[in-house]
């Protein structure tokens, strides 16, 4: 209780000092920095336009090709074929063509520009909590990484939920991680380069409408270009119709493009109609997740039973809103977990922060770790009571923050809402943390412990053993006789060095 009161008093004091010491130079700078929108710090590989309103994949070249093909073909059709057809047959033809063209364009842009259903990455607290839960479930086994799957029974069918190491979440059923966009997408269908975006829960119906209407448009243009040729050849003869027309290309270009498109687009529409009617995604169909070949009892748990309901659910179901809030502003003051009275949870959160470290920093840390482990017998003589109690909030809170700032310097994947501890510097090296002499020894000892939390390969996040070891090494400070744990730690440092 006393600690809590003194803590808060210290914090109050500290905040007073910071406002008094802020020079007039600093405040204008603060005012000038505009608030960032969340799309600007989005961790996935997406491109954003119009201040976050439009979202696309990184490679958009093929999308522009699609757009050009559609515009050129329709442009030629409307310019050269429609006047003739309107005159000879009926003016309804260009009208229907126009409506189809606008529908195709609208659905294409809607598919390409909208959020397919990206799942935002877990916040550091969530990731740490999941790690803890997984570790508890596995009984805190040593180095062996725990199996990252969860089984859940949906409508009588056992479904495995996989853990995504990039997004640090257990993927919901039917979600998948798109390697091109580096995002987990809900109800992931496929990544379509022709629309320049992933196709997922939120834009599947637009995609389906696009390919369906494009099939109709392609068949429409193909049919009426042929009609134009036939009618012209009745009047002038077939070859002369082709030779004497003001421009040969209005016939040939739409014809060729549509001929090839018909097979592919109509085929694709048919395939997706089948997928919708059986309520499957392309991903599931390709993997054969619900195919009866896998087992007699294997069936699709998401299907509603009849084709009509499946179609209605896919096309006319409710449209969920975007979960990533692209245009929201980044909050600067998100409350983080308070530093506790002992150091264990600190290292838990440090670990989740440091899971964003690059290999370069792991190498630096591992090297430092080995050197310090070798030098530790010298240190132990110097260790004293007040220095060990540097796990108090001031220093305990300082170091992870500083470490996270230092380590995320070279990397751009900074988690949202990281606390900026008062004494942190923007230096890129952990070594510089030992600025103040009274804190030097304590920080040096903290360095000794922090590299344990740095995972060697990206996927091998194990919460239990580093914590356990930090616990034992802390105990080691109290009992200078425990050399075994130090020896193990230096060995681990060497292992990490070799793995990086």
């Amino acid at each position: 209780m006393h600690l809590g009161v003194s803590e808060s008093m210290r914090e109050c004091e500290y905040s007073q000092i910071s406002t008094r010491s802020s020079t007039p130079m600093e405040t204008p700078y603060k005012k000038r920095t505009p608030k960032k929108r969340k799309w600007e710090i989005f961790p996935g590989r997406n491109k954003f336009y119009c201040d976050g309103r439009i979202m696309m994949a990184k490679q958009t070249g093929v999308f522009y090709l699609t757009l050009i093909l559609i515009l050129v073909t329709c442009g030629l059709f409307f310019t050269f074929d429609c006047p003739f057809l309107a005159q000879q047959l009926t003016p309804v033809i260009p009208v229907i063509g126009g409506v189809l063209f606008l529908f195709v364009l609208g659905t294409l842009l809607r598919t390409s520009f909208s959020d397919p259903g990206v799942l935002p990455r877990a916040s550091p607290d969530e990731a740490a909590d999941l790690e803890r839960q997984i570790d508890v479930a596995n009984g805190g086994t040593g180095y062996r990484p725990p199996p990252r799957t969860k089984e859940v029974v949906i409508n009588g069918q056992t479904v495995k939920l996989k853990y995504c190491f990039t997004c640090k979440i257990f993927r919901p059923p039917r979600a998948s991680h798109c390697s091109l966009c580096d995002n987990c997408v809900e109800r992931f269908d496929h990544h379509c380069p022709w629309v320049g975006n992933c196709v997922g829960r939120r834009n599947y119906r637009f995609f389906y409408m696009f390919i369906l209407s494009l099939s109709f448009l392609t068949i429409f243009i193909f049919a009426f270009v042929i009609t134009h040729i036939i009618l012209s050849s009745h009047q002038n003869g077939f070859l002369s119709a082709l030779k004497n027309s003001p421009a040969r290309y209005p016939f040939t270009v739409p014809l060729v493009v549509c001929f090839f498109s018909v097979w592919s687009i109509v085929g694709l529409s048919g395939f997706h109609t089948y997928l919708i009617s059986s309520n499957q995604t392309t991903n599931e169909d390709i993997k054969g997740s619900w195919s009866s070949k896998r087992g007699k009892d294997n069936y699709n748990p998401y299907s509603y039973g009849n084709i009509f309901t499946n179609c209605c659910a896919a096309l006319c179901g409710p449209l969920p809103p975007s979960l990533i809030d692209r245009r929201g502003f980044v909050e600067a003051d998100v409350p983080q977990l308070a530093p506790p009275t002992n150091g264990i949870t600190i290292y838990g959160s440090t670990q989740s922060q440091q899971s964003h470290t690059c290999d370069q920093d792991q190498c630096i840390q591992s090297t430092k770790f080995v050197l310090q482990a070798a030098a530790t017998p010298l240190l132990q003589h110097q260790s004293s009571e007040p220095v060990i109690l540097t796990t108090s909030p001031e220093n305990g809170g300082t170091l992870p923050g500083r470490a996270s700032l230092a380590l995320t310097g070279p990397c751009t994947s900074l988690p949202l809402g990281q606390p900026t501890p008062p004494t942190s510097t923007s230096s890129l090296s952990c070594h510089e943390a030992a600025d103040n002499n009274p804190l030097q020894e304590s920080l040096f000892q903290h360095h000794f412990l922090t590299p344990e939390e740095v995972p060697s390969p990206p996927g091998m996040l194990h919460c239990g053993s580093p914590m356990g070891h930090s616990h034992t090494t802390q105990a080691g400070f109290y009992d200078p006789a425990s050399q075994d744990s130090l020896h193990e730690d230096s060995v681990r440092g060497l292992v990490k060095l070799s793995s990086v």
């Binding site: 803890r132 409710p318 949870t345």
Partner: protein
């Protein structure tokens, strides 16, 4: 029980955040948004079981209403398709309307039930609908007994 956190604003800006408890999604009924009704053990001495379960049950019913496939959603879907989805630029979807209702509900629950007990619910939409986050603040009245219990349970798990 401490009455210091009766003001929600004070709670939000209070620096004495102890821990965060996460209630995960329940996928046993498919991809529909549902949260697990399991009561987290960390909140044993902070809030009555029935209150939290009631909140979670109400939230689940709201989400079920938002994702219901019925007459209104079909009408909305067909109308949107007929207008080449341009109507979504002008109109708010039913899902969005329900989400606003949920925000209001969570705000009300925080003010009436959770803030007086030193807890704070975060709207799941702010966490990508993955978890229901409950922030546990230091209970100054009971002298910080919960932080140490969390720590000891954490260390004993090893």
């Amino acid at each position: 029980m401490a009455t210091e956190f009766h003001n929600l604003q004070e709670l939000r800006h209070s620096p004495s955040l102890v821990t965060k408890v996460f209630i995960q999604r329940d996928y046993s009924e498919g991809t529909v948004c549902r949260f697990q009704a399991k009561f987290p053990s960390e909140l044993d001495n902070r809030i009555e079981r029935t209150l939290l379960e009631e909140t979670v049950k109400t939230l689940n019913s709201y989400y079920a209403e938002a994702e219901k496939i019925g007459g209104q959603s079909y009408l909305e879907g067909c109308l949107a398709c007929a207008t080449a989805y341009i109507i979504f630029l002008c109109m708010e979807t039913r899902y969005e309307k329900v989400l606003r209702k949920i925000s209001g509900f969570i705000q009300e629950q925080n003010e009436k039930i959770y803030a007086p007990r030193g807890l704070l619910l975060t709207d799941p939409i702010e966490r990508g609908m993955r978890v229901l986050e409950i922030s546990v603040f230091e209970d100054r009245g009971s002298g910080g007994s919960s932080p140490s219990s969390t720590m000891s349970s954490g260390s004993s798990a090893r």
